[in-house]
Symmetry: D2
Subunit: 142 residues, 4 copies
């Protein structure tokens, strides 16, 4: 099963880079996260900011992250980002991000995220909720 | 009128610095903001995270910021931070932050912040609320 | 004297926002900074990353910042950014940034930045360098 | 083989948290990174900022990252961080970070980092350098 692939492009900013002149790795996760939200926005044709209310979730917090960094990125570089779902499970999913510079793979990551809401019996507690079939279906045909 | 002065110390981290090897200026506001919350925590003897619920506010968002940068800070430098209230008004206050390196003033800023809550007639709207006399009094005797 | 105005557009990301659901103010300076570099890139028709080497500077660190925040920005909002030079001086300049949401002014800031290089007699020291007439001229006709 | 364990403590700041009220995951890597530098500072009894020059490296950029997030962290929470080396290889090493809240494991990550310098034949290129035996030895006895 393959799902819809979202493509985006960002330019590395001065503030993304560290004294070695390369992107501080924590910054890549801002790209990953934004691309995940935008993927859902595009596929569900629902503004990202309206997704939590529409599906009664708080978001999709990450529980597992694996990332490989193949080449350092420097200030001003233009990065192509490809984001897609690798697998949907009952209340979680795997989303993959690949960053390319001049067609060469620079960073690759897979995140496991939980479709998470507030526990109705204990609103201070966050827990996984069943992923609506409607959501998964949209990604298939997306 | 002078108010309680909070003192803290931070070490400049690699991730705070840019390719010129100096702190990216946007990072200083993380120090300013944290010091503001911790000042209130200390003076009100209420955990910062419990301040919004206790006073029925969403926080104290900033409306005006003035900052001067006297010397660049580099990785590993130890910074002494002094934070104090300069003035309380009806629903806003001025908080001053001064960062020192080896007793020399490096950064100085004054922020005007609003004691802000949700408008009861329009919860999507954030507006200034009257600063409780109890809060101001605690800073005087703090 | 008015100078070239650069326009850009950004979408507020989840990672830009705080627990009150609004942009953490320190984040705006990433927009300010990137817009400043891109303004120079556009006017000087030189890649931002090549500007330091071309002009023998380390960058243009900020020495004074004034910002007013007129309305809080929330996740997913589209922001129009206008950046322009307000004044050039011998070795420093003022750059103004204005952020609009739906044509309404949300944030306005003026930064004084120094055209800074390494002191040839003491490379560990950063100091202002004379702004090349060529640079200023390009902004006038830009 | 076990190596010296560095312990630190941080308080989650407002700016670390997102609109769901929990730490934005990219922020954890600022903790990981700072703890790595401080581990080397402590074991090598060399200021972190002096490590690159002393060992003729640019730093230790990350090439592989695995992180699991067991519980979300909220504003004001006090976090205990344990950082240690899991393995040294010829020109890279694995460093493990574990974050605890009230003795409960909240986040665990392992990073593979390269002991990296500039290629003497091509200074624009960053590549792995042999880890000095002296460095590894200090960790053993640390």
């Amino acid at each position: 099963m393959t799902y819809f692939v979202r493509r985006d492009q960002v330019t590395i900013a001065w503030a993304h880079c560290d004294p070695a002149g390369i992107v501080f790795y924590g910054r890549f996760f801002e790209f990953f996260d934004h691309s995940t939200w935008m993927l859902f926005e595009e596929v569900l044709t629902t503004k990202a900011r309206e997704i939590p209310a529409r599906f009664n979730i708080i978001g999709f917090p990450i529980v597992d992250l694996k990332t490989r960094f193949f080449k350092p990125l420097t200030y001003g570089v233009v990065v192509d980002i490809e984001t897609t779902i690798r697998e949907f499970r009952n209340s979680s999913f795997d989303v993959q991000h690949r960053l390319f510079v001049a067609q060469e793979l620079a960073v690759e990551g897979v995140e496991t995220r939980v479709w998470a809401g507030r526990d109705p019996n204990d609103p201070g507690r966050i827990r996984g909720m069943a992923l609506p079939a409607e959501v998964i279906e949209r990604f298939r045909s997306g």
